[in-house]
Amino acid sequence: MVTCTGCALLCEDIEVVIENDRIKESRNACRRGAARLRGCKNRLAPSFNKMQTDIDTAIKKAAEILKNAKSPMLFGWSNSTCEAQVKGIQLAKKLNASIDDTSSFCQGLLIERVLKKKFRTCSLEDVRNMADVLVYWGSDAQDSQPRHLSRFSVFPRGESRQRGYEEDRLAIAIDVRESNTAKICKGHFYRIPLKGDREFILALMDALSGKVPKYDAKRILELAGIMKKAEFGVLFAGIGLTYSIKEDIDILVSLADMLPNFHVMPMVGHYNMRGFNEALFKETGFINRVKFEGKPVHDNKYAVVEVLKAKSIDALLITGSDPLSSLPRSVLPHLSSIPVICIDPCVTLTSKIAAVTIPAAASGLECGGSAVRMDGKVIEMSKVVENSYLTDAQILTRLMEGL
């Protein structure tokens, strides 16, 4: 059995056929996971200043860059094992660097509140065994976490939900477009205008407290009725909801407080984003956007987007992430003017502009380790294929030694 690292569901029931140290066929994994398990098409080679070199020189040069930088930043981490993340935090401490991960422009706001216990939350096994009302809000789980509906939420039969989706469960989708998840929810799809989440939450809170909501009264009252009657409800909060109510995410906390039987689960994309958030929270009390200046300081100006905008860093170490493909174009020019160190198994857009590239073993495939699933459960991953690549954690250890 192999653990798939395609998304934050970390499916552990994947069977594989291995041929010539590569996965030839995978069973039970979704299309996204199957592609991930097949491995990279273009393997990254160690390089310095776009000239191929050996791995020891690459690590040495990377250590030199970090040593000479006045305000370096360590970014990425969502596609690394928990062990590598802990090493990364240690490295940031040693360098007095700022550290941030992809949650700073993803689900960070929600995860922070979940870790601070402002929301009631539950495990995915609880969802499978007990949940009767499932609300997908701003989340297209069917496409982003393809096996979410079939493994845990809508379709499986659980201990207290023996009749599954036919009678025991009700799936509701709230979204700006009719996504594939909304198509499954059919009669219970609530379409809202862009940025309309705040008004929808306020209207829903009105309906829950017995007032007549300001718009679409009939349907919102119906939804409030369903949510009130739920024995074990789960609100899967997607990135659509988080982006829409960014500034006042606390109204979602107020809504959750009005629904005593409801649990909130952030729909995380990258497989170990929550792992990094938990590790940094344990270490510093903050989940991202931290700078170590003797003691950890948290500020929005240490977010990766803000530092690139303000041009306040002079070196960037990226582990298992591709900011060039995911960040807005307006903040990218600064990346080309500073030395970038890229640790990744595959060739990415970022690795093409990097000053130093260090190939790593793909976690969950070429090396083992642990990762945290979207609900907070720690999943152990094992090594599947033989190879000679260093793991993220080993590379970071050697970098620290090089300092």
Binding site: R27, N28, C30, R157
Partner: protein, 152 residues
């Protein structure tokens, strides 16, 4: 997927009964369910119906890969989510602790399996749409938002 009416429009509509069906409409239904072939209709084979014959064959192309129950899985549309694996009542009955609870199938009695990110159908004779007591079951079509599973 072609409809019966589309096929009927291309047939001679003479109800000549040479194909042993009572009407051309009945022949169109038989064509779609793959009980008859285009060549069973002798008038269509004549030179004057050449164009219609070609069109008919073109329309029936997508049904060529259908299983015995008429099931077609479009691998290019399938995302491998496994909703059909878990929702299929036969899979649940044959593997209640595996496919029934959302986990990977634990035996070979199930109909659907996801291989290389795409769903494939096995044990097709177990399907509720097959055999003497067949029913018009939609359990695998309903949970598929991309329309990767079809019946003809």
């Amino acid at each position: 997927m072609p409809t019966v009416m589309e096929l009927y429009q291309l047939l001679p509509k003479t109800n000549c009964k040479k194909c042993s069906e009572s009407t051309c409409m009945a022949f169109a239904v038989a064509l779609l369910s793959r009980k008859k072939k285009v060549s069973d209709c002798t008038p269509v084979l004549e030179e004057s119906f050449k164009k219609q014959k070609e069109k008919l064959e073109l329309l029936l192309l997508p049904t060529a890969g259908a299983e015995e129950t008429g099931m077609i899985v479009h691998p290019e549309l399938c995302t491998g989510c496994g909703n059909c694996v878990v929702a299929c009542p036969v899979d649940v009955a044959n593997d209640p602790h595996g496919a029934g609870t959302g986990c990977a199938p634990t035996n070979d009695k199930v109909i659907f399996k996801v291989i290389d990110g795409k769903v494939m159908a096995f044990n097709i004779k177990e399907c509720r749409r097959f055999g003497k007591n067949r029913v018009l079951c939609y359990a695998c079509i309903y949970p598929c938002p991309t329309g990767a599973i079809e019946f003809v």
